[in-house]
Symmetry: C2
Subunit: 349 residues, 2 copies
Amino acid sequence: MSATILAPSRADEGRGPAYATDVILTGDRPTGSLHLGHYAGSLRSRLALQGQCAQTLLIADLQALTDSSGRAADVARHVMDVALDYLAIGIDPAQTTIAVQSRLSALAELTVLFLNLVTVSRLERNPTVKAEVELRGFERDIPAGFLCYPVSQAADISGFRATLVPVGEDQLPMIEQTNEIVRRVNRLAGAPVVPECRALLSSTPRLPGVDGRKASKSLGNAIPLAASADDIRRLVRAMYTDAGHVRASDPGRVEGNVVFAYLDAFDQDLTTVGELKARYRHGGLGDMALKRRLEDVLEGLVAPIRARRAELARDRAYVMDVLRAGYERANAITEGVLRDVRRAFALDA
Amino acid sequence: MSATILAPSRADEGRGPAYATDVILTGDRPTGSLHLGHYAGSLRSRLALQGQCAQTLLIADLQALTDSSGRAADVARHVMDVALDYLAIGIDPAQTTIAVQSRLSALAELTVLFLNLVTVSRLERNPTVKAEVELRGFERDIPAGFLCYPVSQAADISGFRATLVPVGEDQLPMIEQTNEIVRRVNRLAGAPVVPECRALLSSTPRLPGVDGRKASKSLGNAIPLAASADDIRRLVRAMYTDAGHVRASDPGRVEGNVVFAYLDAFDQDLTTVGELKARYRHGGLGDMALKRRLEDVLEGLVAPIRARRAELARDRAYVMDVLRAGYERANAITEGVLRDVRRAFALDA
């Protein structure tokens, strides 16, 4: 569970382990409830970092609108879902700030200022933006907000003076873009008013959906963080294993086998998982037996999250209080950064 | 002086005269002190409209930064210059709100939201942006803030619920872009939360610089609003007339003659100007006599502005108070619009 804190995977500057002095900014777009892929990939590393570093979880509703402005009502609803998910897994609002992006006006002001420090062609060359433009099929009709979202992300990161940002390999260009902007701000200011940041890469491979494809809410192939016992059973039963593994006695493949991907991610008994892999490869272990073990493992993980989430969902006032307190803390920090950045732009009149 | 309020020059919707119910937003980029070209083209029509309609003058410092982020300190200094110029010509802060753009955080927040309602290709097609990109020689290195400035302008206009925006012909695409965004916001909101706006076109042709080229501070060919008597004399003497008009007895051309352009703009005695034109065309009127008349006309216009500006410049505290009061009024309006627009984006949580 703590294996997600990494030594740098390469000698690059800009990546590295977490230190007690680090300020971490991370978060999620509120486009749905979170699922086990989020848990394996990032949520549990946030739990591990909680109390070790200053940490803010930003519910990035404005960023969600950059490709979902037509589904604004859904985004708004999912802000509450994501907050419930955070609290249900054990994020402690006394230790970790949970804040909603759109309430922090300083982040919009920083975005507008930073837009003057980046060229259009630089944004168009951003590999992450290019890949996502292709993924979403925008072609020439890219919303301007989408092209500019690396700038908004730089505003979020700088706005919290974050030094460490958990990202996937595919998001490294975002860190680079942020640091370019940070250097320009500091050059304007003639002093290091905002820090450069490093990427914190996760060691966990991306958890697939039950059908082996990328897990996604819209494909219905992800297991929600607070799935019911029935949903867990149904989704585990539907998991792709090895199409060549017909009888229990046949030798089977472990690589690309979704059940083993989930066992690797969530079964804490590594010795037993090692033995199961050996038996599966050799022949003599049926898919049903394997899936029953995974069901137990997942139910063990999810049951307390589900119970806590249901309890929290009945106490919306408490969740609103958490978001209000997070806003107060986040607003004080981001307004302070805005003051410094405004001064760099000689806007202190 | 009141001829700047126009009946629509074409039957187009989106252009029109000013009505008492109109809300006018106009202003200037603080890139220098204002000059007589600004006075003829827009400042005196603002004086004429003062008290007739609600009117806000926005000192657009953020917009100035979109192509001058390297000259931020100059922009900051010129905010005060522009405020002094407004007050010196007779803008009454009790009747007209004077506000500094960068202090109004709601405008940045509206900009960030509106960026989701416009595509990049739509911004690239904007003829005003295209022309200005060419003018500034940006080519592929357009700052993102510059590409997005029509969106920021739409935020300014909507942020004040402005219905009438004084512009030149070349700025009409900006009005169109604003109304596209306004319609999208209203569609999202399911109600007309922000009004569409109309262009108020000036009847005054653009006043040339003393050398016949476009008046510009950097070319030194403009006559500052608070020019000294010596500067007025020097600049009027330098004015281009008709290169073929060598002796006073020669017939001369009135069209393209800079002195007549200024007399047309500022000499209130239209009968005499008509007679002078006739004599000049016929032959028998020397350039020096003509220029002496213009000197008197301009000194008559400028002397009280100069005196009042010098007086105000000694009372910075008063000017700061004016800007503070303008901020209070403008902030209340723009925050109200932001609340409505946030609700349209379902961001009222």
